[in-house]
Symmetry: D2
Subunit: 344 residues, 4 copies
Amino acid sequence: MNSKVTRVCILGAGRVAKVHANSLTNYIPNASLVALVDPVEETLAATADQFGVDQRFSSLQECLDHCDFDAVVITTPTFTHQPLGVTAATAGKHIFLEKPMALNLEDCDAITNAARKNGVFLQLGFMRRFDPEFVAAAERIQNGEIGQPMLIKSLTHGPGLPPAWARDLKTSNGNLAEVNSHDWDCVRWLMGSNYERVYVEVANFKGKSRGVETANFYDNALVNIRFENCGLGSISSICPCDYGYDARVEIVGEKGIMQIGELKGQAILVCTNRDQGLISPIYRTWPSRFEWGYIREMKHFVECIQTGTEPKVGASEGKWAVAGVLAATRSFLEERPVYLKEVY
Amino acid sequence: MNSKVTRVCILGAGRVAKVHANSLTNYIPNASLVALVDPVEETLAATADQFGVDQRFSSLQECLDHCDFDAVVITTPTFTHQPLGVTAATAGKHIFLEKPMALNLEDCDAITNAARKNGVFLQLGFMRRFDPEFVAAAERIQNGEIGQPMLIKSLTHGPGLPPAWARDLKTSNGNLAEVNSHDWDCVRWLMGSNYERVYVEVANFKGKSRGVETANFYDNALVNIRFENCGLGSISSICPCDYGYDARVEIVGEKGIMQIGELKGQAILVCTNRDQGLISPIYRTWPSRFEWGYIREMKHFVECIQTGTEPKVGASEGKWAVAGVLAATRSFLEERPVYLKEVY
Amino acid sequence: MNSKVTRVCILGAGRVAKVHANSLTNYIPNASLVALVDPVEETLAATADQFGVDQRFSSLQECLDHCDFDAVVITTPTFTHQPLGVTAATAGKHIFLEKPMALNLEDCDAITNAARKNGVFLQLGFMRRFDPEFVAAAERIQNGEIGQPMLIKSLTHGPGLPPAWARDLKTSNGNLAEVNSHDWDCVRWLMGSNYERVYVEVANFKGKSRGVETANFYDNALVNIRFENCGLGSISSICPCDYGYDARVEIVGEKGIMQIGELKGQAILVCTNRDQGLISPIYRTWPSRFEWGYIREMKHFVECIQTGTEPKVGASEGKWAVAGVLAATRSFLEERPVYLKEVY
Amino acid sequence: MNSKVTRVCILGAGRVAKVHANSLTNYIPNASLVALVDPVEETLAATADQFGVDQRFSSLQECLDHCDFDAVVITTPTFTHQPLGVTAATAGKHIFLEKPMALNLEDCDAITNAARKNGVFLQLGFMRRFDPEFVAAAERIQNGEIGQPMLIKSLTHGPGLPPAWARDLKTSNGNLAEVNSHDWDCVRWLMGSNYERVYVEVANFKGKSRGVETANFYDNALVNIRFENCGLGSISSICPCDYGYDARVEIVGEKGIMQIGELKGQAILVCTNRDQGLISPIYRTWPSRFEWGYIREMKHFVECIQTGTEPKVGASEGKWAVAGVLAATRSFLEERPVYLKEVY
C-alpha cells in the first residue's frame, strides 16, 4: 500500500546485477528498477530484456542526463567503484555499492566523503549481514551465548575461475578481495574487534592448467589474524574450488562453539547405491546460498531511503575489509606478519 | 514493471491470513491487498492495521457491495468454505482456498462447480507444492531417480492445541483434516497414485490434561494406506506435539530412498556444555518452515490470474484430500480398513 | 586376568555365525570358540578355517558326543531352533539363540521349558539391546526425558533378497520375522507396553523380476500397532531394498521427540561435483551397523554364564516378537486388524 | 585360539593408561597385562585393582628386576619418555610410546637408536591412524578421490585444563605438543608432505581466571603451515575449551572437499522444547571419540610383535610431530614464520 516508490538504476548488467534486479523487480513492491547501465551492448540488452527495463544506457553520465531516479546499485568491476561512486553521490543519488568497496583506502575515503558531502546514503553489499542465519548467529553471540569469542574461522570457496581483471593484483586485489571480502567483514563483525595483524600463505595449484600466467596469482590462501582484543582468526580462500560454493563460519568462545552454515544445501537426502552412499545437494552458487540475504539487503536499502535511516552496513565496514586485504597481500608478498597500522 | 495489478481481498484475518497478507504486501509487486473481511472486529482491525489495509468489512457480501477487486483468499474455518466459495465464484472472483477444501465431498463439488460455471480460477492452499525442497524432490522422483515409489511416510506434527471447532468431528474432521491435509495431498502427489483403502489407529494422550472433553477427540493418529498402484503409505498426525512444527517425508522406491525435510531449522550449531550436547534450532511454526512455499503459492495464484493460466493445484487435489480424511475417520470409528470407493 | 574361559560351540557356519565367531575370537578374552557345527561341509570348512576352529561337526549330536563345551550359539534357520534348542538345553548347555526365536509359540515354549528345566541360560540375539545408541536412548526414555511415549516408528530395510526358506511362509514367517524381529522387540521395549492389536499392509514390488514365485511373498510391509497402553506404533519392512542396510527408530512422547540412528554411516563427507552433491557413506550391512552390539551381546552372554546371572534378553522377549509376527501375518492374509489375544 | 600371549607392562597408571589397560584386558585375547608401574602409590593401586593386575611397581627398573614380560606401554609425562624408552629398549622390550614422542629431537633420536640397536619395535600412540574414519579417509585421499590435497585444516579442542607440567614450556612444549600432536601427525599424513615453514598466533583467554600464571602459557593457538609440496595447512588448538572433545579435519583437494569427523557423538536426536531446539550428544572425551582407534592401535602393536612386523606408525612420525611443535613454538615466541630446517 506504500505510495512511495524508490526508483533505482543498476550500474553493470552482469551476474550480481541480475541478482539485484531480481530482488527489485520480484520481491520489493515499493521499489522500481527504472534504468540499467552497461557499456557492453549485448550484456545490457540481455539483462534489460530479462527484467523488462526500458531505459538502457552505456554510461552513468548518459543515464543521469536522460533519466530520473533516486538511487544507484553499483555492480561494476572494483576499479570503477571510486569514479562511479563519486559521480553518483555528486548527482545526489543514494548508493548501494558491491564489495570490495575500492582498490585502496584513498578511493574508499573519496567515495565516503562524496556521499557524506552530498547527503546520500552509502550501503555496502555485505549480504551476509542480512542472511537469516548469520543475523541470528550474530545476535546470539552478542547475547553472550558462547561467551567472549576467542577464535573464529571463516571460509569462502568459490567454484569457478574469476575473470582476468580479478586475478591480477594490478587491477584488483585478487581472490582475498574479490571472493573473501565477506569473510573479512564477517570475522570483524562476529569477533567484535578490529584486526591487529595478519599473516598469509598462498598457493597456486590450478593456475597453470587453466592458462593463468599472471604474476603473483594464487588460488589458495590461508590468512592468520590476530585481533586487537587478542582473539585469533582464520580466513581460507579457494577459487576455483570447482566442488561448489562454500561459505561457513566456526567460532569458539570462552563458553562454547558455534557453527554457522553448512555444506549441505536443500534438505533432500537420497541413496540409490550403497557403494556410493548418501547424497544431498550442495550449494552450487552464491546467489542460491544467500537468496534471502540478497533480497533482504536490498529491502533494507530501499527502506533506509524511504525512512531516512542510515543503512547498517556502510563505509566503515567497506574500508576495514579493504584494509585487511591490503595488509594480507603485503604479508604474502613480503613473507612476514603485517600490522594493520602499516596500511591503515 | 508490470502495469497490471491484481486486487485481492482476504476473508478471515487470523494467523494464516497474516501469512498471505505478508506475501501480498511485501513480496508480490504486481498484487495489491485491497480489502480484509472478518466478523470479529478486533481481529479485523489488528490485521488490517498491521498491513495498512483501509477497506475492512464484517462479511464477504458487504465487501462485494462496496469494494472492487479481482480475487479472494479464503482463510476462514472449514465449515464456511462452501458458502464463501460459492458466493465469491458467483461474483466472478478468482478463489485461493485454504485447506481443507470443505467438510464433505458435496461441498467440494459445489465450490468446484460454481468456479467452473463462472469461469474463475480455484487454487488450493497446498503450499508444500511450492516449497523448493518438495518441488525439487517431486521432480527427481518423477525423473525416476529412486525408481517406482513403493512406500511413503509423511508426518505433520503441530505444536499447539487446535481451536475448539477444529477438535470436534461435528464441526471439522479433526486433526487428520486440519493438520494433515498437506500429508494427504503430498503422499498422493509423490506416490503418483490414488488411495485405495486406509486403516487408522488413533489415541488421546493429552486431551484430558488440556481440558478437552469432546467425543472422539484424538491427538495422535497413524494412518496406513494402500494405494491403487499397490504402493504403501503412512501418515502420522500429532497435535499438540509441543516440541515444534515437524513436517517430513520419507519415500522408498524400487531403486532407493529419499528423505525430504528435516527436523533442523537454521544451520546454526552450538555447544556450550558437553553434558547437554549440541543444539541446533528446530522449526517452531509452519510459517517459518514453509516461508518460501507461502510466498510462491501466492505468486503463482497472481500470475495465473494475470496470464489466464489454470493454477496447478486445484479442485481435484482438494477433493482427494477430503476423501482420504473421510475414509480415515470412518476407519478408526469402525475399527476396520475402509476403501475409498466407500466414501468417494 | 580372568582364569575362567567359557567354551562355546556355534551351530551354523553362515553369515551371522561369522559375526559371532569374530566376537568370540577377537574381542572376548575369557571365551573360546571350541567347535563349529554345520551340515554343509564347504561352509563349515570355510568358517572354521577363517577362525582357526579345529573341532568341526555336521550335527549338534555329533558335537555333543565328541567335544566338551559350555554353551551353544544357534545361528541356523528358524525352523531348526526348537529341536536344536531343546537338545542343547537337555545336554546342559547354555544357549545363545538367534532371532526369530521359533516359528510358533509352542516351539518358543518348548525351548523355554527345556532351558528352565535344565537350569541353563537362554539369551536371544537382539543385539540392538546392546547397541550403545539404543541402550542410551532407552535409558533416557525411561528417565522420562521425552515423557510418556505416544507413537513409535521403527524400520528395518535390508539390502538383499533373503534365502528361499526365509521368503516362504511355510518355512519361515517371511520378512516380518526374519528381517524385522528386531523392530518387534524394540518397539515393545521402548514403548514399555505390549501390542494389543496390529494391522498390516503388504506389497510385492520386486518378486517377479527376481524370480520369486512363492505364494504370499511380500517385499514391503507396513505394520500399524496399537499398544496396551494406548500408544501407537509402526514397523516398516523392505527387503530387498537394495540401497543399503537401514535401521532407525523415531519415538514421540508427551514431552518431545527422539530419533535413534541415522542413514549415515562413517562421518566422512565428500563433494567433488556440485551437480552431484555431498556424499557420505551409508551402512552397507547389519554387521557394520551393529558392530558394537554384536560384540557386547556376546560379552554379556559369557559374563552371565561366568557370574551365574540371568541374561537380560531372553525367552519372554523372543516369544513376544514371534507373537507379533503371527498376528501381523494373519492381519494381511485376512485383511483386518488382529488382536494379540487371538494368537497369544 | 592363539597360543602365543604377549605380556605387557604399562608405565604410568593415569588416564591414558586405563584406556590401554582396557584394550589389553577386555578386547585383545592374545595379550596379557602383567604389570603396572607408577611412582604414586594411590594411582597405581586404583588402576591395578580396576584391571586385576597383581604385579605393581614404583619404577621400571624394579619391574624389570622382578617381572617377566615382552613389551612396555609408556604413558608417563613427556619428559620421562627418553629415559624410560631407552631403558626399556636396552632391556629388550618392545615399546608402545604415547605422544608426544619426546621434548626435543635429540631425545627422539636417543629412543629411536636404542630401539634399533636392541632390535625392538617402537610404535607411537597416534591412534587416529587406526580410527576407522581416518583410515578410510586416508585411503580415499590416496586413491585420488579429491585430487591432490591443496589445503588441510585440523583441529583438536580439549575440554579441561592440562596438568601443570603440560602447561609449562620448560617441562613440556605446551598444548601444541600435549593436545595437538595428533594434528601434527595427521596433516602430514593426509597432505602427504612434510612441513616447510610454520607461523603461529597464540592467545591466553582463560589462564588468569583459572589461576595459571606460567610464563608464555596459551590456551588458544592457530598454526599456519606451508608444506614442501606447496600445500597449505592449519592446526587449531584450544584447551581448555570446556564444551567437549572436538577433533575434526577438513581437506580440500584439486577435485573436491572432504570432512573427517563431526561434532556430533551418538546418533540420538532429541527435542523437547522448540525454544531450545534439537539436541544431540557431543563427544565428551578423547577415549569415547577414539574408542575403536585405541583398541585397534594396541591390537596392531601386539600383532606386530607376534608376527615380527614393523609397526606402521613409529619413530619418524613421532619425530616430525615434535619438530613441528618446536618450529611452532619458536614462531610465536619470535613472531615470525619459522622454517622447519631451522629446527630439524
